[in-house]
Amino acid sequence: MLTHKKRFTKRGRVTAAGLLLLLVAAACGGEEAADPQQAAEATGPIKIWYSNNPEEIAWGEKIVKQWNADNPDEEVTGQEIPAGETSEEVIQAAISAGNAPCLVYNTAPAAVPQFQKQGGLVNLSDFPDADSYIEERTGADAAQYQSPEGGYYQMPWKANPVMIFYNKKIFEQAGLDAENPPLTTHDEFLETGQTLIDEGGVEAAIWPAPTSEFFQSWFDFYPLFIAETGGTPLVEDGQAQFASDAGLQVADFWSQIYENGLAKKEAYNGDAFGEEKSAMAIVGPWAIAVYGESIDWGVVPVPTADGTPPEETFTFSDEKSVGMYSACENRGTAWEFLKESTSEANDGALLEATGQMPTRPNLTDTFSDYFDKNPEYTPFAEQANRLQEVPVVENSIEMWQTFRDSYSQSVIFGKQSPDDAFPEAADQIESLVSEG
């Protein structure tokens, strides 16, 4: 017995020592980050990531090639963002590992506060000409991308203004006016939706994803809330805005959509609009390239309760920014490349290649040649003058998940009235955004 006890004690000591070693190892940090002051002026080779759709890859390769020809000593290596569940997870993993590239041309504004908290982003405002460059290029909307402390941890780059895309053939089948569809007010939209179900032979009038991912509200509630309020974000000055009369009006609209079966409560396993299972979709200008040849489509702004004229209707921007990451050693080169890639000429090339809207004011004037040749993109370009971004706040993703859970429970599944659910969610969200 004694021998056994002794052996056990020895084994226990070894285990304890092993665990202690592990905890000490766990507490240790990784390699050092680049020295910010030195890096800001340093020039040399850099790496960048861009989105993985073919059009953006082609644009990225062209820009990189052009830069490398002009700047052989500051070579840029571009690649599409590595595969992962989402770009944000890939970027977050790269930040933690210390191997993020200098620039990522696919940084979601909602993820920026988290990346900033991780120490993963460079404050672009540290470059002497950054604020003026960003504000001059982006116009008044630039303020939507500033961190609460005032710096720019992201460069607003391109938007996909969210609008209502509709299938003209199905509208005509349902006996509706396909050129001027009655979709301006909430009541008109509901009535049109019912007609589409009854007469248009579709399973759903519109089919936004009813799933629980935090970002899904950007494509159902949020654009209509922004339109209803004339451009108010979900949270403003630390106060949740969605439990207001306007927010509850929008919630009531979507509740009726689900109650009346105009939208399904389950996600479609495919592309509902592309397969003509639904007559409408909430999309950005990317949809023109996707559906342009197969569907005779039309586009209108998102509806409001009383019907807002198109030239006054705001919507969600679905914007992507460029982030400069703190692992970057040659930030001088990265900043110059960032400016070059967002110059008027290269923004024009982006528009030409992808149909997505550079975040510049008055696109139809700046790129008039493009819109003369491609008039179908003009409604999106005009809509790009009235955009609202997600708020740049602490715990941004958790905030959106809290909102989505509340919306899902009350609006989609009707388990609770939005009148009760939204104020509860507003309290939780105000507490979350004030934690910073």
Binding site: A33, G98, Q118, T211, K265, E266, Q401, F413
Partner: protein, 304 residues
């Protein structure tokens, strides 16, 4: 002489520590290193993180991650989504584990008999296990959607809302899916166990007048008892860690978190929302829960 006397016990101690064949330690070393790096280190890190307001940061970044004691654990017990996810695990295990044991044992017994096309059936039951979850989930989404094959067959008695967005059915559907998906693996375990039952026992049972059913109950079931313990423990561990099913089959743990799992909640909080300390606390609690359930299972199944 005194030096020799002192070194002798030390040498004995070293010999005892190294064992009779010290070279064996060299052979063990790579796997021991693998265990430490891949299992022990992450486990230690998770426990460490769970006591801090921890988030992943860039190397060298100056960030504050204060020690918070048991705060993450107390937060977990006040988090309605985490508590709901624990309830969902219980629902999952209550459905999944008995179904897994029953179906895999019955199927293994059938596939152990001399059946025509036995090889084909053995392969057929194993195919779901080796097929990527994403692919088979696509099939299930199609089968159980509002206008899918199952609802079309059921007609007016089909549930509304349909299976995967129905608060009552979402969790059982995940448990059924996991049972079907994993069955092939457990059938193989039982098939191996069945080979170890001496045929004399079946002969003796037959002489005593036992039919097929009685032979199954009194010979097969006790004969594969160690395998049953293994199947119960493995299916409990695998089941408690389910993630892909609520992530893909029920659209992120929906509806209304009625199919959210602790691991999906960990993923959301730790990876999506950057609260790694809290996610680690959930992970530690889940691991403790699974160990306790497995020990209880083992105690119940192995007692004479």
């Amino acid at each position: 002489m005194a030096t020799i006397a002192a070194t002798a016990p030390r040498a004995r101690r070293i010999r005892r520590a190294l064992g009779r064949h010290p070279v064996g330690l060299l052979f063990v070393l790579p796997y021991a290193a693998f265990l430490v790096l891949v299992y022990a280190y992450p486990l230690g890190l998770a426990v460490y993180m769970s006591f801090y307001d921890y988030f992943f940061a860039a190397p060298g970044a100056v960030v504050e991650r204060p020690f918070v004691g048991f705060d993450n654990y107390t937060t977990a017990f006040g988090d309605p989504i985490f508590l709901e996810s624990l309830g969902n695990v219980v629902t999952f295990l209550v459905i999944n584990v008995p179904l897994t044991v029953a179906f895999s044992l019955v199927l293994a017994t059938a596939l152990n008999a001399k059946l025509p096309l036995r090889g084909f059936f053995r392969t057929a039951y194993y195919i779901p296990y080796v097929t990527a979850s994403v692919a088979v989930i696509g099939v299930w989404l199609w089968l159980f959607s509002d206008t899918g094959l199952v609802n079309s067959a059921l007609g007016p008695v089909a549930p509304a809302p349909p299976w995967l967005v129905n608060e009552f059915w979402a969790m059982p559907m995940i448990a059924f899916f996991a049972t079907w998906k994993q069955l092939g693996f457990y059938v193989v375990l039982y098939l191996a166990a069945l080979q170890n039952i001496p045929s004399d026992l079946y002969d003796a049972a037959s002489v005593d007048g036992a039919g097929a059913l009685k032979s199954f109950r009194h010979v097969t079931v006790p004969g594969v008892r160690p395998a049953t313990t293994l199947v119960v423990i493995l299916s409990t561990i695998v089941g408690a860690n389910f993630f892909t099913e609520p992530y893909l089959l029920t659209g992120g743990g929906g509806p209304n978190n009625s199919s959210v799992s602790p691991v999906l909640h960990m993923y959301r909080r730790g990876i999506e929302q950057g609260d790694a300390g809290y996610a680690a606390a959930i992970g530690v609690l889940l691991a403790i829960g699974v160990i306790v359930i497995s020990m209880v299972n083992r105690f119940i199944l192995e007692r004479d």
